[in-house]
Symmetry: D2
Subunit: 142 residues, 4 copies
């Protein structure tokens, strides 16, 4: 696995009724669950663990989301979520996501999120682990 | 306030798009959020507090739900949720709920839930507070 | 595939942060999403399709849920949801579900749901498809 | 009511367990439900109706969200969501939101959303109603 591979993830999801609304398509909030699943699996791949988050009370916390809704997904459709760590700036890790519909090759969603490692007892963001900074730098040099 | 009043609650909710699905009506899971809101406000009215739950790690935990879906609610409708403590058996508090649509007087949902006070560190149910048992007994004698 | 296999499903899910609450364990409502995913995949396996549901406006609608919460699941845990069509009575299809934690073989959740095929334009339950009734009978004879 | 008042809304919400996660604070996705409630009530105040949305199949659709998470909210806290129509550009209506905690006057969340009126049958955005454009212009002249 190259450094680049280790900061990328691709997940699949099938749209359920609870993801949709009475407009007939996927509700805007549901896509953020799809993205959280991809982001969490990527964090695990990058070496983080749920056990460490809970024992240290230092959790990855979303500090900013930018999301563009380009095309709607329908109930029952199979979607792909691609995510990657794109940059580290100070205490922020930036991730890029896109949600694709393979059946017609369309890009439905593009999204960018910044996360910080926050001690939820004190509310303070922590310095990012050296391993994460190193991974981000290895990728941005390409 | 009589003993009976202190174990009853009535809340209002307007159906949002995120409560519905592509079938055009409220999704079955959304009603359980409406009921949780009513149940939580009732617990506060009965003297419990979020602070105590978190400081003791003893939380009210749903151990059983029975829910009947009688008629569907539509996006934008205003609903009423009525809830009350109906009985205490051992470590279980039983609550009854109904969700009404005032505009045509229909009963959309009936629901019965059992909760226990569980220490989430140990996973063990705790003896119910004397005040809760007393409230339940005061009401059941009517 | 035997008749029995065709009315059974087994799905996997990893618990995400959005499935949990501040009590530290999976929130009671989240399990019903896990069950809906299994139930929907089972309906597809039994020959139903999202296209048919939307073109006919006849949807599988939950009319009753009974769910028992036996043990809590933690963030990051991998769970198995087993579901099967257990019985058909009039316009109701009954499904049984259990949610297991393979790591310690525990049964966390048992659940029973009745669904009807409802025309959401008229609100009326429809007669069940002959194929479904036949499948249910083939299994119950075992 | 001045033109300015008619494009503003303020709503209250109490944080429920289902809004939180095992990190102990409100989950990032839950704030978007709080914002959707405020935005929907504002749309109704501006003259739109659920009936018209469903009869015309032209729905207000979120096309972009930008949200900054500044401070976390805790279970049981009472929050205020303030929203207003800030600008109209082509087929996009831009709304600004902030979520406040009155108890210590903090701003927890700031958010900006663009919506379009989309015919969900054709997927095409529609020209905005003249009344909405007029309201936006009346306010921006101040």
């Amino acid at each position: 696995m190259t450094a680049d591979d280790s900061v990328k993830i691709s997940t699949e999801v099938m749209v359920m009724f609870y993801d949709t609304d009475s407009g007939g398509v996927v509700h805007n909030i549901a896509y953020l669950r799809f993205i959280e699943t991809a982001r969490t699996l990527l964090a695990l791949k990058m070496g983080m663990t749920f056990e460490e988050w809970h024992s240290t009370h230092v959790f990855p916390v979303v500090v900013r989301t930018e999301i563009d809704y380009r095309k709607p997904a329908l109930p029952g459709e199979k979607l792909i979520v691609n995510g990657r760590l794109s940059e580290v700036t100070g205490v922020r890790m930036w991730f890029d996501f896109e949600i694709l519909r393979p059946s017609d090759q369309s890009v439905l969603i593009t999204c960018r999120q910044a996360l910080a490692m926050v001690n939820t007892s004190s509310g303070k963001p922590q310095r990012l682990p050296k391993e994460i900074v190193a991974l981000a730098e290895a990728c941005s040099h390409k």
